[in-house]
Symmetry: C2
Subunit: 112 residues, 2 copies
């Protein structure tokens, strides 16, 4: 049983940044930057965890969890992250949606 891809989070409340995206065709340096951004996010104040997946059609959902809206704003303003955001708009994404939400309830299950 593998749970390594699940975020290990404290009890709610906390905040979720829900990022859904459609990649452009081609790799274009995306994977390296995605790994770098995940590592950088994990170093940010208030970062709680991240879950991310993308299918073979290039449609992905990443949910990053933070302790507060203030720390989400700090992460958004991070200089290296801003460079990645610009490349996302110019190169990597055909379309994306970004939603910020306050998690109020959480429930986990490992059936076996």
């Amino acid at each position: 049983m593998s749970t390594s891809r699940f975020a290990q989070l404290p009890p709610p409340p906390y905040y979720a940044v829900i990022f859904s995206s459609q990649r452009t065709p081609g790799e274009r340096g995306y994977n390296e930057m995605a790994e770098r951004m995940a590592a950088l996010a994990a170093q940010q104040p208030g970062f709680l965890g991240i879950e991310s997946t993308r299918d073979d059609e290039g449609f992905g959902i990443t949910v990053a969890y933070f302790d507060s809206e203030e720390n989400i704003a700090r992460w958004k303003a991070n200089a290296e992250h801003r460079t990645a955001q610009a490349l996302g708009r110019s190169t990597w994404y055909e379309h994306f949606e970004l939603r910020v939400a306050k998690v109020e309830r959480a429930h986990a299950m490992t059936p076996r």
Copy 2:
């Protein structure tokens, strides 16, 4: 440019059900039920939209959007959905996390 996999939502606030899951190996009737549940969810009162993806390691994230917590509770209690939930626990998922969140801000971009 394909945006058909993105939920078309009203302005916030609304609610998100964030479901991350690790599939068991094998198909086991999952795909048919997943399609049926997506269609059934779309008929529920207060359903706003859904985004879903799963990678080739079987790790998936689905986010379903509703207008209220009351309508999320109704969907959870739907009889056919409850049958699917039981099969999820017994058969389809190694582990899952379910989080209910209130979306407070949203932003979309189509770069080109």
